[in-house]
Symmetry: C2
Subunit: 327 residues, 2 copies
Amino acid sequence: MRIAVDAMGGDHAPAEVVKGATLAAKEQGLEVFLVGHEGLIMQELARYNGSASNIEIVHTDEYLLETEHPVLAIRQKRRASVVVATKLVKEGKADAVVGAGSSGGLITAALTTLGTIDGIPRPLVGGAFLGFARNTVVMDLGATVDCQPDHLLGFARIGKVYAEKLLGIGNPTVALLSNGAESGKGNAAVRDAHPLFKDSGINFIGNVEGSDIPTGRANVIICDGFVGNVLEKFSKSLGETIAQWFEQALQNRLPRSDIEKMTRDLKAATNLADEVGGYPVWGINGVVILCHGRSRSAEIAKAIAQAKLAVQQNVVGHLRSEMTAVP
Amino acid sequence: MRIAVDAMGGDHAPAEVVKGATLAAKEQGLEVFLVGHEGLIMQELARYNGSASNIEIVHTDEYLLETEHPVLAIRQKRRASVVVATKLVKEGKADAVVGAGSSGGLITAALTTLGTIDGIPRPLVGGAFLGFARNTVVMDLGATVDCQPDHLLGFARIGKVYAEKLLGIGNPTVALLSNGAESGKGNAAVRDAHPLFKDSGINFIGNVEGSDIPTGRANVIICDGFVGNVLEKFSKSLGETIAQWFEQALQNRLPRSDIEKMTRDLKAATNLADEVGGYPVWGINGVVILCHGRSRSAEIAKAIAQAKLAVQQNVVGHLRSEMTAVP
C-alpha cells in the first residue's frame, strides 16, 4: 500500500509530518510519498531514517498557506504540495492521501482532482467525536457549510457505509439532528430532508436532539457542516474546561498521577479526533484523510493508519456500489 | 408588581406551578395572577396559602397541549391559559408573564398578543447556559430557527441590552458564532450578517467558534435558534454524561457526599437554565419568561424572580430606546 502525504501541511510541517510518516512507514508496512520541498524534507528525514526504501520524496516548491483562500490559491499554485499529493492518487500511484491543512485546501484539492462519487453532491468530513459514544458518527463536521436537503441525504448514505465498513455496525441507525424530536421540527433544510430520508431505504429513525449525541442514540447523526463544526469544537473546549475544573476540585484529594490520568481521559473522551489522528473526507473518488492543523507526529501516524484501513476496507468502492443501488 | 403565570403550562402543571407561584408571592413581595382552571388551582392552593391576598385566580377552561401545533392551537383556543395570561400584560393588568410550555405556545401567544418591539424582526430566547461562562449569553436558543442576517442583527441589539441591564456589563462584546474566526467563514446568513454587524455601532469583535463559548470569549454570542438549541441541549447532556463517568471513576475514592456535590455542581455548570428557572423571550413588547417544561416549583419561583428583575430594570424600555437610536 502506498500513501501520499502532504509534507508541507499543518502547523508543525514539515518536521512533525515527516516524523509521523517515517513512523508509519516503519511500523505499518507501507510505502509513503512525502510531497513537498525536497531539501527541507531531506533535512528532517536525516534525523530518523534517511535511507529507508519505503519512503519517497516527491519534490515541489509550492504549498498553501493557512490564511489563503483555498480555491483561489489552488488555482494559482498548480504545483502546491497538497495538489501534487492528491494527483498521485488520481494517477494510481498512491492509494490514499493524508494532509494536515489547510482543511479547505485539502478538500478543494480532493474535489478538483478526484471529484465526488456519482450521486454524492458534496463531500463531508466526519466521524465519531465523543469517546462516550464511539459508535455514533456525526456528519458533516465542516466540509459543507450550507446544505440542501439532498446534500444531507448524501451524507446519510456515506454515514451508512462508514458505520458498516469501518465500525462494523450492521444496518446502522441514521438520524437527522434537529431542534425537536417531532418530524415537523428543524430548520428549512432539515424539515425538507425528513421525507427524503424516510423514502431513502436507509434505517432512518427520525430526528434526534443535541441531548442525544452523548448518549449515542443513533449510529449516524446528520447535520450540516456549520452545526457539526460548532458542536465538535464546543465539545473539545467544554471537555478541557471541565477537566481544569476537576483538576482544581480534586487537588490534594487524590494522588497527582491519578488526577492527571482522569483529566487526560476526559479530554480524550470529548475529543476523539486526536485519538484517531483526523477525520476522513468522504464522498470523494479516493481515500482522503484530513488531520487537524495542530497534529504532531503521533496524530499523523494514526491518520495514515486510518487511510490504510479505509483502503483495505474498500470504503470508496462500497460507497460507489451503495450509490449505484439507489433507485 | 404583578406577574401573570400560566398555571396550566409545563409537565407538572398545575401542582408545581401553583406551588412555585405561591412561594414567589410570599417571598418576593409581589402579586401573582394564576391563570387556568379555577377548581384545579383552588385545590392546589388549599395546600399552601389558600387565602393569600396577593394571589388571584383568573379562570379559563382552555389550555394548550404540548403536542399541539402552537399557531393552529392558539387560533382555535382563544381562551387558552397562556393567551389569557399574556393578555393581562397587554391590558396593563400584569407587568410580566411566566409560562412553562409549550415553548411554541408561549412564544406564539407573546407574538400575537404583544408583538415585537419596532425594529426587531423576530423574538429570541436566550441567556447564559454555562456556569463556566456566566457573562456569556448565547442567543437565540430556539425561538427563531431559520434566520436572515437582519434577524441576527436584531438578536445582537437585544443581547447588548440584556448584558448591560441584567448582567451589568458595560459596553458588552458581541460576536457571531461561526465555523472559523475569519470574516469570510460562516453559513450564508452569518457571512451576510458580518458586514451588518460591523456597521451597527455595537461592540462587534467578529466571529467566534464553538470552542470560544466555554471560555467566555464574548459577552454576547449570536447564532440562529437551530444552532443554539442543539448546543444548549448537547451541553446539558454532555455534562450529565461526564458527571456519571466521574461518579464511577471516583467511587470509593472520595466520600459519597463529596462525589455527589461535585457531580451536582458539574450538572449545574453545564445547564444554567435550571438555576435561573428559564430564559426570557426577548424582543417582545413586554416581559415574557419561558421556563423549561420539566420545571418544578423552585424553577417556577426563580423564573418569577427573573421576571421581576427584568421589569425593575426596565429591559423592554431600554431595548425600545436602543432601537429608536438605530439610524
